[in-house]
Structures are given as structure tokens and as C-alpha cells.
Assembly symmetry: C2
Homo-oligomer: 365 residues x 2
């Protein structure tokens, strides 16, 4: 089991990454929690697969275990569902010293995380992410939220978990579509970090040859992603200094694609992949990214089987929505681009015509 130590603000916690380590969850949680209640929150996709292993492990470690299983899907990230979870914690007499365990993907982590962050101003939170996207990105970093009307993550806070516990074997039950969605964030981290993480991701990309397999996602690759993520968060927990803005690579165009396609045609990861391709091209045009490195980035995305073409929507519609998302709206559209692989720059100005041109290029036949 690999360990990544994370600090953010005054909090410190470990992320543990293993394969088929889920039976050890209770022991690991016991090291950071004094006992008492553990309430596991999971969804209808994940619970049939992993809830029994998680709860029996926690019970064996001495916790009074209960659980709540919610339907799957982004629509569960609502204030109404949060209120239901508050009611569950209230009815069970959960105290600040008790523990909430989020077992599932990003939706479960964000929702249960927000409830844990705010119930009695914060109970102990354990993230047990079971999707690649949640393992490499969402579970570490402390962002928790629900959606409000059309505003994704519009109600939330920053709240660090006491432990992130990752079993990469859970990826083996993940649909290919979800695996690829996570692979896009892996690629993003690789392009941002460069060095060893880029090399490790390129190995995965070559082995995958367009169709990544869960078994090829190594513990060390996931650990490298968590390490990169928490190193950025450490410098900028609350998105104040700007360091965390680098994580937005590819996302300015991705958010526009998601909005223009009604959040239905593309997974977040697929949209990010297209956004990364746009960022590579813009970086070459504007920031001196060498053609060789840009091509290396494209090969990485291709090998991971990530989409190369934007279809089913007009380039005009997407372009019009660039810069309308929550983050970009603050102080003009600032793109994250790359001077070189591993050397991001934030707040880059991209002229409007060039924004349109690069989206048009994404729709090329």
C-alpha cells in the first residue's frame, strides 16, 4: 500500500493507495478515528459491489456501522438530498467525533463530503473513491459541494478528509466510458506535471493503445496523480493564490462544450480531453510549446482512447459559451496554457477569433 501525505491549511491527512486493499479499510480508519459511529454513504451502482466489504471491515475494527444508499447520478448532488442525509445523521445521533465514509464516485464524495463538512460544523470524513476520476482528482483536495439550479457545485465549501482510501481493484468494475473519463484527468495531470508522472502516463497510454484497461492502472500511477493534486492544493487550498488555477487546464473549453451539449453528449472527461487538445494547439500558437511536445501530448491522449473530434454541436455555439462558467467569469477569460510539458502558465489571454478558430478545428472532419 502506497501512502501520499497531504497538507492543506492546518489539516494533514494521508491518502493510501493499494490493490484489493478494501478489507483493510476498517483498520486504516481506526488509525485516524477513535471509534464510535461510522456512517457509510454509497450509491446504487457501487453498494452492491463494495458496501458489504466496507461495512464488515469497519465493524470488525470496532465501529458501530450503518449506511445510506442513494440513487446514482449527478442529480443526487442537490440540497434536497443533502437535507435527507442531515436527517439520517441527526436520527442516528451522529456526533462530531463520529465518521462519515463516502464510498463511490465523485457524486457520492461531493455530496457526502458537503454533508460531513457542515453537519455540526464538521464530522470526520473518509473518502473511499471507486472511480478513476474520483481516485485521481475529486477525492483529494477538499472541494465538496452540491449543485444549485443550473449551477454546478454552486453550494459547497472546502473541507479536507481525514483519510483518502483508494483500492485500484475497484476500477475493474468500472464501465469503459467512466474509465476514459478519469483518464482525461490523468492526462491533464501528466501534461501539467511533466517528468515522472508524464512518463508513467505515457506507459499506460502505449499499453492501452486506445482502450485502457483497469488492470493497467497501477497503484503508483494513481499515487502520482494524488501526489500532484495535493501538492497544488497545498499551495492554494481555497483557490486564492492562483496556483490551483493550473488545474483548470483544458477546462475552459471543456465547460463550454459541456454547456453547449446540455451535459449529456460528452462525459466531463471526454470534454476535458477535447479541451486539452485545444490547449495544446493554443499553447503551440501562443506560448512557444514546441511542435514536438504538442505532438507528444496528442499521442498521449490518443493512446488513452480519448476523443479527438467535437461532433453534434456547432463550433459557434461552443465558442459563444467560452468564459461563461463560474471560474472564467472572474476577471475575464484566463486560459491555462503550457510553455512546455510540465510548465503551465495561468491567466493567458486568448483573442476571441483564436478561441473560435480552435473550436472550429476541433470539429474538423
Amino acid at each position: 500500500v502506497l501512502k501520499v501525505h497531504a497538507t492543506a491549511g492546518s489539516r494533514a491527512y494521508d491518502a493510501l493507495i493499494g490493490r484489493t486493499c478494501l478489507p483493510g479499510l476498517g483498520t486504516a480508519v481506526r488509525r485516524v478515528a477513535p471509534g464510535g459511529q461510522a456512517v457509510v454513504c454509497s450509491d446504487e451502482n457501487v453498494a452492491p459491489l463494495y458496501l458489504e466489504a466496507a461495512t464488515s471491515s469497519l465493524a470488525a475494527a470496532g465501529f458501530a456501522v450503518s449506511w445510506i444508499v442513494i440513487p446514482a447520478g449527478e442529480r443526487q448532488k442537490s440540497l434536497a438530498r443533502a437535507e435527507e442525509l442531515y436527517g439520517v445523521l441527526y436520527d442516528r445521533g451522529v456526533k462530531r467525533t463520529d465518521t462519515v465514509v463516502a464510498l463511490g464516485g465523485g457524486v457520492v464524495g461531493d455530496l457526502a463530503g458537503f454533508v460531513a463538512a457542515t453537519f455540526q460544523r464538521g464530522v470526520r470524513l473518509i473518502q473511499v473513491p471507486t472511480t478513476l476520476l474520483a481516485q485521481v482528482d475529486a477525492s483529494a483536495g477538499g472541494k465538496v459541494a452540491v449543485d444549485f439550479r443550473a449551477g454546478k457545485n454552486y453550494v459547497g465549501t472546502f473541507y479536507q478528509p481525514s483519510l483518502v482510501f483508494i483500492d485500484v481493484a475497484t476500477l475493474e468494475t468500472l464501465p469503459q466510458r467512466e474509465l476514459k473519463s478519469g483518464a482525461a484527468e490523468v492526462a491533464k495531470h501528466a501534461l501539467l506535471a511533466g517528468g515522472d508522472l508524464l512518463a508513467a502516463t505515457e506507459r499506460l497510454s502505449r499499453a492501452a493503445a486506445g482502450s485502457p484497461q483497469a488492470a493497467a492502472v497501477t497503484q503508483s500511477l494513481v499515487a502520482g496523480n494524488v501526489w500532484y493534486k495535493v501538492s497544488v492544493v497545498r499551495a492554494d487550498e481555497r483557490e486564492e493564490s492562483g496556483a490551483r488555477a493550473a488545474l483548470n487546464l483544458g477546462h475552459t473549453v471543456a465547460h463550454a462544450i459541456e454547456a453547449a451539449t446540455g451535459f449529456a453528449r460528452y462525459t466531463h472527461g471526454a470534454a476535458v480531453a477535447l479541451g486539452l487538445r485545444a490547449a495544446l494547439r493554443l499553447s503551440e500558437r501562443l506560448c512557444g510549446l514546441s511542435p514536438e511536445e504538442a505532438a507528444r501530448g496528442v499521442r498521449l491522449l490518443d493512446g488513452l482512447g480519448l476523443p479527438a473530434r467535437l461532433t453534434g454541436v456547432s463550433a459557434q455555439d461552443v465558442s459563444a459559451l467560452i468564459g461563461r462558467d463560474k471560474k472564467a467569469a472572474e476577471g475575464g477569460v484566463g486560459f491555462v496554457l503550457l510553455e512546455a510539458l510540465g510548465r503551465p502558465i495561468t491567466g493567458a489571454a486568448v483573442p476571441g477569433p483564436l478561441q473560435e478558430e480552435v473550436v472550429q478545428w476541433l470539429t474538423r472532419p
Copy 2:
């Protein structure tokens, strides 16, 4: 205008305390906010008195000002009301760089503070407390929350304001009952801090002779209270190290009194005053507080016109509820007591029979 500088975690902010300084609100906010929108949240008691002054001052300083006025009273601290406020911020297109101004007492500060803390993971928050309780206690320290079912402040977080702006002239429109409620927390701070703050509070107590007047509440007394509060919070923002627990002086018994009387018969401050009297007596019995200092504490409470006798409820009912509140329930009933005025000890064990005895004593004829 007096200034108290506060730091908590990575945040720093000022509390400004003046008399008839409300027309300067906009200028003060402009120093910590770049402009944009300012949304003022107030209630039906406070808005007729001070909303116009606040909004015109903010508008003159260049903010795009709007407001929302909610009914008065603790019942407004609900998730439903929070959701309504999220909708207002959403409809008005409030961004992270915009500002929420909480103009009112503790309910407005807690509710608008919680909404500001969580909308888009945090927009700028300005506290403009208009009650003595909120000025000396609730507005600084960063606790924001709504109630959930019977759980007071059960859904909340810690979120520091960007500015606390106090006009002590607003106390002149405050009902005597509310003034006394705040005076109980002033007395608590005086007993905890000792020294100059105790001396200043004794001057107010002697001048009041049982009926404190708003005009006698000086800027420096309020500033002293804010200074004491933020000095404790600085050491323990999130109630983790235990330093903040000292602020619970008198509250273990007070919470039991409030619960036993259905949160109706006594204001929070009146219950705290009775709790402080119990704490003084227990401190004399258990911690070596001298009879002279205990008597000095009692005189302080008497002069401020704070209740000396518990009526309308049986001592048995109150005793049975001691230690059932949110904080006390963690790890046994720990009382805050005083070795001397200005020297609190936390986590003191008080035997059950002695708890009953002191409550019985409070009900003496």
C-alpha cells in the same frame, strides 16, 4: 473608530468599532472589496432602522447594491431560508468576488454568514452586527450555521468575515431584554479575561445598577470584548485544541435551562447568566476560587441586571438535561470553571450530585 485585528487560520480581518459610524460602512467595505455587487441581508426589525443608511453608504462607495429582508427570529435560521437566499444570490448573478453584508443580530449573521460561506464555496462576507450579543460575541469568530430540527446550529461551518463593522449607536434601539442578553456574554468575557476587561465591565455594571443603558456601552468595552473573543479563536479556530472551549463558561448549565424551558422562558443571555452564577459557585467549591472573587463575580452580574433565580421549571428537569447538548456530549460532561477571575480551566469534572445541588440552589426562593 477603534480597530481590532483578527487572524484565524490563514485569514485575517479587522473589526472596526465606532459610534454613529454606519454612514462610513461603504468606505470601509470598499477597502476590503474591489467593488461589484453588495447584497445586504437584514430582518424586519432592523431594516426599517438601518437598511437605508447601509445601502446608501454602500452605493455611494461604488457598489451595485441590492438587499433581502427576512422575518425576524430564530426560526429563520433554517435550510429552507438558506435555500431562498441561495436563489436570490443566484438570480442576481453574484460571483465569488461579490459581497454579502449581514446587517442585524445573531440570526441574520449566522444565516447570511452560512449562505455566504457556501455559495460558490464562499463569497466575501461583511458582518454588521446591531445587537450587543452579536457585537461582542457572534459576529467575530467565524461560526456560521442554521438550525436543523431541534439541533441548534446543527448545519454550519467556520467562515471568517472580511470585515466586522460595529456601530454601537445601533444599541440605542435595542430592547432592554436584548441588551441584557448581550450583557451576559460581556460578563462571561470579563470573568474569563480578568484584568482590564473585567475592570471596564465592572464600571458598566456599577453605572447600570441593575438596568444597563446602551449609551453606557462604550466603544472601548465592545472593542475589548471583540479583542478577547478573537484572541481565543486565533488559538483554536475550529474548536480542536480546546482553547475555544473556555468560551463555554456558564453554557453547560445554560443549555440545560434553555432545553428544559423550551427555549422560550429565558433569553440565551439570561440562561447564560444563571449558568455563570452556577459556575462561580462550583468554582468556589471545586477549584479554589476565593469567596471574595466569587462575590465580585456575583456583584458584576447583579449590577448588569442579570437574573439570579431560576423559576418556572424544576431543578430535576434541568439537571437531567445537563450534558445532553452538542458540545458536552463529546467525552463526558466537561465544565468550564474558574481557578480565579481571568483563569479558566476546561474539562472540569463535576459529580452528578453536585450538578443537581447547584441547580437546586439556583431555584432557591
